[in-house]
């Protein structure tokens, strides 16, 4: 277990739990398990989005996806630092030194980037889901979760604008962009259901957490409105099995983690 950081200017400078919001707060084990889920969703998606830098259709989009990824890394750092406070691990311990089966992210975020439309379809779902989630989590009775959410919700609002605008542009653009957007929605939709699963943990957390199913009506309403505007149909597709919250992942996550973790594992304590 390395407590050195691979991401900071000086090694050993990873955010410690006491840096987050309420100084020295230790998360309860069940709250930590919940924070880990939210942190993993943000971290895995940030890693996916980072791939686009230098590859997006235009320079502005390199910058936009890079900025969105940076916001997500910020959220992940806060959530993971808090999750680690339950057993004395840092954000870096959790990001770089866990195995695939220890990640609690949903399958949607580990889906391949595909073409630009697929990335946008994934962004549409995640940004509108996270906006509702953090909007509700601001009222959590856990002060740390509430503080992270209150900050994140304002940033995710910009992510919503970004994804919605691209869905309109691609959906109403050329025959080719429209064809790709329709295909992207079909490929993305099987992974939507998992976001709204209520399981034992969230139910038992009560007012500390947000019941995912409670977010569904608002999410469905917003998505339906955008797709209507873009003259696209809501895909009707069987949900994929899911299981990310229990550490059961698709084949995609292992490759993603291998790339994300290799530097920290090859050079423990490295910094730049």
């Amino acid at each position: 277990m390395s407590s050195d950081s691979a991401t900071r200017i000086t090694p050993g400078n990873a955010l410690r739990p006491e840096d987050i919001a309420a100084a020295g707060t230790r998360a309860e084990p069940d709250t930590a398990a919940y924070a880990l889920r939210l942190g993993d969703d943000a971290l895995v998606l940030a890693q996916r989005l980072g791939w686009w830098i230098s590859r997006a259709p235009e320079l502005e989009e390199d910058v936009a996806l890079g900025n969105i990824a940076l916001d997500l890394i910020g959220h992940a750092r806060s959530f993971l630092s808090y999750a680690g406070s339950a057993d004395g691990r840092t954000e870096d311990d959790l990001a770089y030194w866990r195995q695939e089966t220890e990640f609690r992210s949903v399958h949607l975020v580990e889906q391949p980037n595909g073409d630009f439309a697929r990335t946008i379809a994934r962004q549409l779902v995640v940004s509108f889901y996270q906006f509702e989630l953090y909007g509700a989590l601001q009222h959590s009775t856990d002060p740390t979760l509430s503080a992270i959410a209150a900050k994140a919700v304002k940033e995710v609002d910009y992510h919503r604008d970004h994804s919605a605008q691209w869905v309109l542009r691609l959906g109403l653009g050329t025959d080719e962009s429209r064809r790709r957007m329709i295909r992207a929605l079909e490929l993305t939709w099987p992974y939507v259901a998992e976001l709204f699963d209520d399981d034992e943990l969230v139910v038992s957390l009560g007012s500390r957490a947000v019941l995912p199913s409670s977010l569904k009506p608002a999410f469905d309403g917003h998505i339906a409105a955008i797709l209507r505007q873009a003259e696209l149909d809501l895909p009707v597709i069987q949900p994929a099995p899911g299981g990310g919250r229990r550490g059961q992942h698709s084949e995609h996550l292992g490759y993603l983690l291998a790339e994300m973790q290799v530097l920290a594992r090859e050079h423990p304590g490295a910094s730049w």
Binding site: E60, V63, N67, L72, G74, A147, A152, H162
Partner: protein, 167 residues
């Protein structure tokens, strides 16, 4: 809002004034006091406790600011400094001082237009070109050189400029 956070206690106020000289490494004309990033300074016999808040969750300037605050206070004779990061209440551009907004404008970055909206609906207020003061400007890309800025362009002087987004 002008520095209403500056402590009344003279010892803490003296330390506050030192911390308040630290600039944002990405926008070197603005101090962390101008930005509203500096939230609290307390002095006990043993050490100075400083609380800062990030503008955006992923803002990489925070690490540098933390080190700069420690260094500035160290140079002013405060050897033991603890800088903590606070997330609540969440930072907003509404905390930026008028002096800070004027400095941004003079530096060539358009300051935030209007106050942070509550909820998803944004009324698009005009953004004034920091070069020629024209209101004939448009957004090129919402995401710019840092988390907190968008890239705009002026229709009159034709120059691109950074705009500090309302948050």
């Amino acid at each position: 809002m002008e520095s209403s956070l500056r402590p009344a206690d003279p010892a803490a106020a003296a330390a506050w004034d030192v911390a308040a000289t630290v600039c944002d490494p990405e926008i070197p004309v603005l101090t962390i006091e101008d930005l509203g990033v500096l939230r609290r300074v307390e002095v006990t016999d043993a050490q100075v406790q400083v609380a800062i808040t990030p503008t955006y969750s992923g803002c990489p300037a925070m690490d540098a600011i933390r080190q700069d605050v420690t260094a500035a206070l160290g140079a002013a004779g405060y050897p033991r400094v603890q800088v903590s990061l606070e997330l609540a209440p969440a930072w907003t551009t509404d905390w930026m001082s008028s002096a800070g907004k004027a400095k941004l404008d003079a530096y060539g970055i358009a300051p935030p237009s209007g106050r942070a909206a509550v909820g998803p609906v944004r009324v698009g207020l005009s953004v004034k070109c920091p070069q020629c003061s024209s209101l004939n400007t448009r957004e090129l890309t919402r995401f710019g050189s840092t988390s907190c800025k968008a890239l705009w362009v002026c229709g009159d002087c034709r120059e691109p400029f950074d705009y500090f987004k309302v948050l």
